[in-house]
Symmetry: C2
Subunit: 361 residues, 2 copies
Amino acid sequence: MALFNGSVVPLEEFHAFIVRCSKSVGISDNHAESLAEMLVSADYRGHYSHGLKNLERYLICVRKGIISGAGTPEIVKQTAATALVDGHKLLGPVIGNFCMDLAMEKAKTAGIGWVSVRGSNHYGMAALYGLRALKQGMLGIALTNTSPGMAPTRAKENILGTNPICVAAPAKDGDGFMLDMATSAVAYGKAINAKRIGEPIPEGWAVDKQGKSITDPNFVYGMLPLGGAENTSGYKGYGLAMMVEIFCGILSGSNYGHNIISVSDQINKEANLGQCFIAINPEAFEEGFLDRMTELLNYCRNLDPVEGETEVLVAGDPERKHMEKCDQQGGILYHPEQIKHANSIATSCNVQPMKILKTLS
Amino acid sequence: MALFNGSVVPLEEFHAFIVRCSKSVGISDNHAESLAEMLVSADYRGHYSHGLKNLERYLICVRKGIISGAGTPEIVKQTAATALVDGHKLLGPVIGNFCMDLAMEKAKTAGIGWVSVRGSNHYGMAALYGLRALKQGMLGIALTNTSPGMAPTRAKENILGTNPICVAAPAKDGDGFMLDMATSAVAYGKAINAKRIGEPIPEGWAVDKQGKSITDPNFVYGMLPLGGAENTSGYKGYGLAMMVEIFCGILSGSNYGHNIISVSDQINKEANLGQCFIAINPEAFEEGFLDRMTELLNYCRNLDPVEGETEVLVAGDPERKHMEKCDQQGGILYHPEQIKHANSIATSCNVQPMKILKTLS
C-alpha cells in the first residue's frame, strides 16, 4: 500500500506512456503492448518493485541491443504437451506471454502444457503469467531463475537467486488463488528498506559475508532461503530454489545458478535466463473444480483471526485490495519522486510525459 | 541417524517380514510387495517415522476393511498427458506406484504425465515415488494432502495438513536431487520429541490454541507453515500447502482441507485422500540434462561451508549417508523397543518374527 501523498495516474495513461517510450527506442507495437501490460499490472497490484521502477532499465537494454525489441520466440522441440523454446533475447513479458499461450494451447487437448525456455530476460511480475491462465479458466504456474543472491544452507557464497514461484488457480466469479513468492525468506528490497529507515531486520531474513544470520541491515550480503536458518528448516527454501532452477535453467539449457550474471551486469550483457510455464486444464480432472476452489478460499477467509488481526487472507487478496483502492482513486498513486523519474524518462525518450489525473494531499 | 545401540535387520529380512504380516491379513501378493518396498525404503533412508512404525496401522486398516488389500486403481478420465484416477481405497503405496507408472508411461511420448487421484490412503514416504521416476531417468513429483495440523497465517484453526512436496531429478551415475519436505516448518514429531526430552522448541515451529507462536512444546496445538510467523514469510508456507491441496484434493475431487478426517479417525473411516503424481521426461527438453544436474549438485557440495559446519549438502544427501551406514552395518538398526513392537506384530499376525542379523552395543 502506498503510504504517501502523490499523484494519481489512470491505468490507460500509464499504459500509453509506456508504449510511447517503448516505441521511441524501437520496440515493435506488440512487444510494447506486452511490456506495458506487465508494468501496469505490477503497479496496479501494488508491486511497485516490478512496475514503473523498472521501465528505464528495459528501455536501456533495448537501446543497447542487449534485449531485442522485435522478433518471435522459437519452438526448438515439442510434444503434445511440452515445448522447449528459445526466447532469442526478446523482452521477458513477450517471451512469457508466448510460452504461457503455448502451454495453454497444449493444455486444451493434452490437459497440461509444460514449456521451458532459454534465452530469456527478466520477465517482471510472475503473477502476470498466472493471470493469463486464470483468464482462460486454467491453472497457471510460472517460474524463473534469477541472479545469485542467496547461499545454499551452510554455504557462504550466493549461487542461487530468489527464484520465485507463481501458482494461480481459478475460482468462481473471477475469484482465484494467486501465489507469487520468492523462495528466499523475503525480497532483497525489504532489507534495503530497513537499512534506509535505520531499523533492524528480523532474524531469519539475511546473512553477512560469513554466512552468519544477522539483524543489522547494514551488513546484508545475501538473503536466507524461505524458512531462515537450518533449525527452522531453511534447507526447504534452498530445496525449492533448486527445484525452480532445475525446471528453468537445467531443463532448458539456459544459464543457471552460479553462471547467471548479476542484475547490474545484465545492462551490458545478455542474461540468457531460463523460465518455465505450465498450464493445467481443470476439465481434464474432476468436474466442479471452480466450486471446490471457491469453497476452500472462502472457508479460509471466514476463519477466526488470531488476536490482533482482523481477517484471514488467501494468496492474491492483498493485491485485490490494492486494485480496489486504485479503482476508487481513479488510478495508481505515485510518489513525487516516481513522477519525477517518469518525467526524466519522457525527456530522454523525447515523448509526452505521463498525464496526471489528480494530486492527493 | 540412529543414536542408540540395537539390532541390525537386513533389508531383505525386513521386507520378507512385512510381506508375511501383510499376507496374514489378506493383502494380495503384489500389494504386499509394494507396502514392503515403501516401509523398507523409509527406514533404510533414515525416515523411521514412515517405516516399521506404521506397519501395524496399515495391517489394522486392512483387517477392518477401511483399506482394501486387493484390487486395482481405476482410470476415470485421461488425455495423452493427464489422468484422473480413483484409488478405490487401496493401500497408499499401491495407488502411488500405479499413478507414477501411469504418469511415466504418458511422459514417454507426451514429455510429461500428470495424474491426480482420489480415494487414496496414506502413501507413506513421498520420496518413494520420486525414486521410481529417477530409476527410469525421469524427473518425478509426488504430492499428497494430509489431515489438518496447520492453521493458515493469522488463523487459529488447523484446516490444512503438513501437505508434503517431493521433487526428484536424476543426475549422472545414479546421483540425483531428492527433495522431500513438509510445507509446515517442521514435522509434528519434532515437537513431540522436544516435549519428551523437556527442551524448548525454536520460535517459528508451532502455535498454541490461540494461534500464538510458542517455544514451550507442552502447549503445541498446530504447526506453523514453512517460514514461521508472518514477519518471516509464513504465508509462503501457507500458500505452498494450499497449492498442494489444489493439485491433490481440489483437482481430484477427494476430501480436502478441513474435510479430511484426523489420522486417528482414519483407523475407523475411509480417508479418501487426494494425491498428485507428475513425471517429466528430460528428453523432451534440452540435451545434456544429466551433465548439467551433476555440475549443479557438485558445485553446491563443493562450496565453502560456514564456520562450524563441515560440508554443504544437496537434498537427498542426508538419506544417502544413512543408506551407506546401513550398508556398512548389514541392514537397518532398530532400537530394542522397535524390535519388541515388531515381535508383537508377528504374534498378532501369527507369523515368524523378524530375524536379527546382529546386535550392536
